[in-house]
Symmetry: C2
């Protein structure tokens, strides 16, 4: 699982090397203003995984600017997306700051600091043009590069492209933004979609959701241009579905995270299958599921756990649609990427 | 970490072999009565780790006895003790059953099923007598064997022993009961304490808390008698304290689990040490802490994470008292086992 900014610097499986030092805008003044305005005594700070190591330094910078009686609390909960709010900390602090993601839903309680990147996207966009086949192109990126989105559109148009952009749905904050679980911003007519951003996590999801499109990755962080290739993932999906066809006992996972609950889907499966058992949890990990004696799992929570971490689980883990294929309710060739819509 | 009934059958590090099949009393009728009485539609079932695989069968047995419109939900959250309540599930179900532990505090919301064991403790108690040095002996056990506690007392008295028992404090349900974090029931004058129960987890904690006592383990599950030997643990504790003496940046862990919060201790450390950072989390795991760039950690939550899992963390992890030793506020020879008192 790595749908956050942090994973963009994770080079383990990319064959890429890091070129640019990256810097983020932590928006300290906005946070200080909120602390003063609310006369806050307890301030919660939540960072995505790969930026947690920056947390203490950010806390130091904030402490220097605040009264001594303000306590800063760093969330130690895993965090991979805007759906991954530390609600415990949120409810027990006067100011709660969530770094690295944009709002899935507005809330007065939460200060979202998307951590805009200072990386220059244009050199790598220049390189990416030779992979774009048509003269109409969709443009998408992540929260970190949204501060340059309009410039990117202009830049492409100056080079003769018709740029198609779209604000996906309520789950997304910005026009052209993608999430690990939502690529509605790529529902545009163009056959080419240009993804500008670090890593392959988002463009691979996009290509799974839109298998007919040519997804070009312009990665300004790792300084590389590639095409999204979903073959490995799709093979794994079909293999998991086939393995699960023999399953008798099904564990139906309901994720309790604020942005990941799909109870109606879980309850429908339980109604139709007397060998299905509902299991509720926040973090869906191999360790937690190993203790249940199930033959297969269907995950109604984050689809990226299923597709990206699937092979790490001891039993096949399917998306809800893959489950319907495995039990014979839908044909195998209908297999589609699982996405999340709406908010919480 | 393994302070639950389940760990009693975990033979990985004991060199013991399992002799008796074990059976537990799931008290299904009591649960059914509660479901009917409350006309419950959603029923939550929480099992400790090693018994999670029994969950589906227990759910099946309950389903057979209930109307079709009752939905059973199995908690997939890690569970190692009575302090480990799945509060999410508890708040969202009409009946919530917590198996394997006794109440830390009464709550109408929770049905505690301690899972009394049917193992006969007396053959192994007979063997254990030769390790008891005096004629006064303290007797302690876990929730699973509480149904035989009075019999055990009588049995010892019939053999000429003066049996000393004690109900510890509010954290404990029964006279003579121990928890992984609380051995107040062994605060008795006798030099010998007989622990009847499975595994070494509890008696090792007891021996760390009461280093002057001869702690005899009569284990009816693994059918073995041993003496609690804390030397390995104590060496690890001193080694961790020594390593942490060089630490500059300290992560101060506040555990958000309902029975593990000691904020006043955490805040005291923060007040006195400007290089200390408060980190809040529910599960305290090596993975979660690895992302914080700290030199050492002090864990105000479960002491058994610190002592039993300590070596699995990438940096030294200390109890609050060990922290005070490491920073020079207390002498090294004052080192004591960390315990929890009160409820939540």
């Amino acid at each position: 699982m790595s749908q956050d900014a942090s994973s963009e610097g994770d080079l383990r499986n990319t064959g890429m090397s890091l070129k640019h030092d990256r810097e983020w805008d932590y928006e300290l003044e906005r946070i200080i203003d909120a602390i003063e305005e609310r006369d806050a005594k307890r301030v919660g700070l939540q960072f995505p995984e790969g930026l947690k190591r920056r947390g203490p330094a950010v806390a130091d910078d904030l402490r220097q600017r605040c009264d001594d009686d303000v306590t800063f609390m760093l969330s130690g909960q895993p965090c991979y997306g805007a759906c991954d709010l530390d609600t415990y900390l949120m409810r027990r602090t006067d100011v709660f700051v969530h770094f690295g993601h944009s709002p899935m839903k507005e809330s007065d309680k939460i200060i979202y600091v998307p951590l805009f990147s200072n990386v220059d996207p244009f050199p790598i966009m220049e390189e990416s043009l030779e992979k774009i086949e048509g003269d109409e192109v969709g443009l998408v990126t992540t929260a970190q590069h949204m501060n340059r989105f309009d410039d990117m559109c202009d830049w492409l148009e100056e080079r003769g492209y018709t740029v198609q952009t779209r604000k996906g749905d309520d789950r997304l904050t910005y026009e052209g933004q993608v999430l690990g679980c939502n690529y509605a911003s790529a529902d545009i007519p163009a056959d080419d979609v240009l993804y500008v951003g670090g890593g392959k996590f988002h463009p691979l999801g996009l290509a799974m959701e839109h298998p007919e499109k040519n997804v070009v990755i312009a990665d300004p962080v790792n300084n590389v241009v590639t095409l999204a290739d979903t073959r490995k993932f799709m093979k794994q999906r079909y293999a998991s579905v086939h393995k699960a066809m023999d399953a008798e006992k099904w564990g139906v996972i309901f994720c309790t995270k604020i942005g990941q609950g799909r109870m109606e889907i879980a309850e429908k499966i339980l109604e139709d299958n007397e060998n299905a058992y509902l299991i509720t949890m926040d973090e869906v990990t191999p360790d937690r599921l190993r203790n249940f004696a199930m033959d297969a799992f269907v995950n109604t929570g984050c689809p990226r756990i299923t597709t990206d971490d699937g092979p790490r689980f001891h039993k096949p883990m399917l998306t809800p649609q893959e489950y319907r294929i495995a039990v014979g309710d839908e044909p195998l060739d209908s297999l589609k990427f699982d996405t999340f819509h709406g908010t919480w």
